[in-house]
Amino acid sequence: MWEWDVSGFRPDVERSIPALRRYARALTRDGDVADDLVQDTLVRALRSEHLFHGGDVRSWLYTILTNLNRNRLRSLSRRPALMPMDDNDAADMAGPEAGARDIERALATLVEEQRSALLLVVLEGLSYREVAEVQGVPIGTVMSRLARARAQVKAFLDGERPALRRVK
């Protein structure tokens, strides 16, 4: 049932795993949740291989991961009481220097789709067009998300610190 053909689908998926982990980690700010997301993404990708008709495997994987994360947040927000049982943030905070900690906090204040757009562009190096495909929105929307994300990060780091919006 699972025959890996010559398309190189599977090696392409394999090569994307480190970058997916990086993106998921920055998106969720929790190593365990991030790897859960990556695992679910990979399982989904393996299962849907027959639906993949060429194109960029990496963008497709980012799309799956972004959607899975949106579902995850939706199910969390239905129950505001539900927080991750083991929040790794505390452990992470001890290590990195202040700048890294601040940028992590700044990202935490962004709404999900703005954070996703910013990370896909600056961390993952996707083009605006690719981000538009991943997020399923027009390029103009990606650009306005990016602009709002940058303005918010700047405002946060400049010390304005608007009301914290933890979407987690």
Binding site: R10, D35, R78, L123, Y128, M143
Partner: protein, 262 residues
């Protein structure tokens, strides 16, 4: 050039930073920045923040990929589940018949006695504790010792699967007496609307590849074996949803396979 006089938009400043600017606007934007220090400051702060993000998270993808993300393993688990599901459906057709499998009436699958007894115990426990309003669980989910404790008592490394994708939250768990006086573990999950599912784990002598589905009145259950442990997911008799939840549990529990590798 008329172009020189066209004001530079914010979008262009972002595009400039991200290398998305059409080459013929590049010189214009650079000239603009030279004469607009506030915009130049914003552009340089965006660059600095991007660098902070890359420094903060750039290390993640240089760490070794954990074993549970190994693609070969995931593909094997996927194959195994597909096969198990197929086997269960075939068994249902041969044994209970199509009506039995798809119907919502009381169904008896031709399960071996070892499976049957685990399923019966699981369903009985489900019925008793799901109905409990005040004390459905013994140890709440937020107690960090819940899973290690159940693992130790059952004698197998357990994990509490995350059913967040199904809108289910782990409430907690309890220890139960199972056959031969051995302990079994039960974890309970609840949806926002109060729908409850349980995952039951007990030592089982049933063959590893068995997968069974059974409906007993208002409760349906899916059984599968993994090594010498039998798992039963019980819940409302929505076959598709139950199967999806069971499959998710199967996939997540299969990760505990640092058997020997850790």
């Amino acid at each position: 050039m008329a172009e020189r006089n066209m004001p530079v938009t914010d979008d262009e400043l972002h595009a400039y930073v991200d290398g998305e600017l059409p080459p013929d606007r590049r010189a214009t934007v650079e000239a603009w920045l030279a004469s607009h220090p506030e915009d130049a400051a914003r552009v340089s702060s965006w660059r600095a923040h991007a660098e902070l993000i890359r420094v903060r998270y750039g290390g993640v993808n240089r760490n070794p990929v954990p074993v549970r993300l190994d693609l070969d393993r995931l593909a094997r688990a996927e194959r195994k589940w597909t096969w198990l599901t197929a086997a269960a459906i075939v068994a249902a057709f041969l044994g209970g018949g199509a009506a039995g499998w798809f119907g919502h009436d009381l169904v008896e699958e031709p399960a071996p006695p070892a499976v049957k007894s685990v399923m019966t115990e699981a369903i009985d426990a489900h019925k008793i504790y799901v109905a409990e309003v005040r004390h459905p669980i013994e140890v709440p989910a937020d107690a960090s010792h819940l899973v290690p404790w159940l693992s130790r008592r059952v004698g197998s490394t357990l994990r509490a699967p995350d059913f967040g994708a199904f809108g289910l939250r782990l409430m907690g768990g309890r220890l139960l007496p199972a056959q031969d006086g051995k302990p079994a573990a039960m974890l309970m999950y609840e949806s926002a609307s109060g729908e409850r599912y349980t995952l039951y784990c007990a030592r089982s002598a049933a063959p590893e590849t068995a997968l069974h589905y059974s409906v007993a009145g208002p409760v349906a259950a899916v059984y599968w074996g993994d090594g010498d442990v039998g798992f039963v997911v019980s819940g409302p008799p929505d076959r598709d949803r139950l199967f999806k939840i069971a499959q998710s549990a199967y996939e997540q529990l299969d990760r505990r396979i640092p058997r020997g590798s850790s």
